[in-house]
């Protein structure tokens, strides 16, 4: 699965990296920085947990499209 963060929407609530630090990290300003944009199957639940708890709806977890 692929995780996308819309940096125009992120304002640094920090819920994602608090709840799912294995997928999300903080940049210098406390805004979301992805640990990796592609998440292994065992981390998909964490990625989704971070996404649904974003008050700005800035995170999307999507199927990776095969090239």
């Amino acid at each position: 699965m692929k995780v996308r963060v819309d940096q125009k929407l992120c304002v640094g609530h920090g819920r994602c990296y608090e709840l799912a630090p294995e997928v999300y990290d903080e940049d210098e300003r406390g805004h979301c920085r992805l640990v990796a944009s592609s998440v292994a199957p065992e981390l998909v639940a964490s990625a989704q947990r971070g996404a649904v708890n974003c008050p700005e709806h800035a995170i999307r977890v999507e199927e990776e499209v095969d090239p």
């Binding site: 304002v11 640094g12 608090e18 300003r29 406390g30 649904v52 008050p55």
Partner: protein, 425 residues
């Protein structure tokens, strides 16, 4: 644990989220009930004591009502509140000076709008990041323990006076790099600004008390800056004195206007949240026992109580243009109240919003606001709250409100002005 079940739970929530984040149409549909101007005073102590039933009433019957004081519009729905918070070009934070709390200029960055506000947030956000706040956690923990040493063996206290008021203030002094001996002075200045009504100065107008205290705050920080001339220190004041925006140092006025905000915004809000939390836990011993038995639940409990209690019930904005919200026409120049508290228990955004669940799967509360003005100190507040809740419950796990007494809450920011607690020693 069955991981596939967990995934499907999040998938369901994600689908719901996609639904809600559809591009919002400019003209909301539906005709609201007639506006009842005098029915609700959201700035009354009665409302502050138990606002949740009124929130539900407003959302369902009158999502855009008119304030009993001043007549400005009050937005109650999650969708409207969050939408407004994300449109600073329409819902401006530039307040008329009549709303000023003893300041001579706007507080930075709270009372200015993007893009100017963004320039300040770029340099301030890193100083208030979660990582930075963890660096002062030990100091805050020590302050909490020191405070508790003074009353834990008494078996009773007024929660505000003994703990919830001094703790955030000592944290603020640590953060700024100011002497702890100034605690009393700070508490006095802050109270004069926030609650001038409670000052017993015969014949003195509220505005005068505020203006005097405001001057006192400016002068205090002026002296603190002067005393540091030439020395560099790695604390907030030292940072502000050397910080640059686009190669330019902050002016003295900018440093004062930021410091003023940190003082006003950083103390009362955490005090109020602690009071709301402890009142809830005193009244709900089963929930409290769960926290005491499992400290790992505390961060989730803090988020859930921020949602349910929403100590900062409302934030103001000024309209820069005419706009229609939930079918109601609002006019340029109107002072709008965004009801964060109502937004946080709106069933359109939360499953079982009336249920207080420390392990809630999805909690998108906006107790710290949303959009570009998201509370600068939210990570500081969360750290202080977590440390305070941990230390309090380790030492005093079992407590109740003194029988026969009722906590009193102040309007606007729901601070427990009287919260007598008792416990066995």
């Amino acid at each position: 644990m069955c991981s596939s079940r967990v995934v499907s739970k999040w998938e369901k929530a994600l689908a719901k989220l996609e639904d809600q984040s559809e591009e919002r149409t400019a003209e909301p549909v539906g005709t609201p009930d007639p506006v009842d101007a005098a029915s609700v005073n959201i700035f009354s102590a009665e409302f502050a004591a138990c606002p949740q039933p009124t929130y539900a009433n407003l959302r369902e019957k009158c999502p855009v009502s008119r304030s009993a004081i001043g007549g400005g519009p009050i937005l109650a729905k999650h969708e409207d509140v969050v939408w407004a918070l994300r449109q600073p070009e329409i819902f401006s934070s530039k307040m008329d000076m009549q709303l000023a709390m003893g300041t001579e200029r706007p507080m930075i960055p709270q009372q200015i709008d993007p893009p100017e506000q963004t320039r300040y947030r770029r340099i301030l956000d890193p100083r208030f990041s979660r990582k930075r706040m963890l660096e002062i956690e030990d100091d805050v923990r020590k302050s909490a323990r020191d405070l508790m040493d003074q009353f834990a063996s008494d078996g009773s206290c007024d929660f505000g006076e003994a703990f919830a008021i001094p703790l955030p203030c000592t944290a603020f002094l640590h953060l700024m790099g100011l002497p702890q001996e100034d605690l009393g002075l700070f508490l006095h200045l802050k109270d004069s600004i926030i609650r001038p009504q409670e000052q017993e100065q015969e014949g003195m107008a509220v505005q005068q008390i505020r203006a005097d205290a405001g001057r006192g705050i400016y002068e205090y920080f002026e002296r603190a800056i002067d005393a540091r001339a030439g020395q560099s220190k790695d604390d907030m004041l030292g940072f502000l004195m050397t910080a640059e925006i686009e190669g330019e140092r902050l002016t003295r006025e900018e440093i004062l206007d930021i410091s003023f905000l940190l003082l006003l915004a950083g103390l009362d809000t955490v005090t109020a949240t602690l009071g709301c939390n402890i009142t809830y836990l005193a009244e709900n011993p089963e929930a409290r026992r769960r926290l005491v038995e499992n400290e790992g639940l505390i961060p989730g409990a803090i988020e859930e109580l921020l949602r349910w209690e929403t100590p900062v019930m409302v934030v103001p904005r000024v309209l820069t243009q005419d706009v229609t919200v939930s079918g109601v026409d609002l006019r340029e120049g109107e002072l709008v109240s965004l009801l964060l508290g109502s937004s946080n228990i709106d069933p359109s955004a939360f499953d079982d919003p009336e249920l207080v669940d420390f392990e809630r799967d999805r909690n998108i509360h906006v107790a710290f606001g949303a959009g570009p003005h998201r509370c600068l100190g939210s990570h500081l507040a969360r750290m202080e709250l977590r440390v305070a809740m941990e230390e309090w419950h380790r030492r005093i796990p079992d407590y109740e409100i003194q029988p026969g007494e009722t906590p009193r809450f102040s309007p606007g920011i729901r601070e427990a002005r009287y919260l007598p607690l008792v416990w066995s020693v």
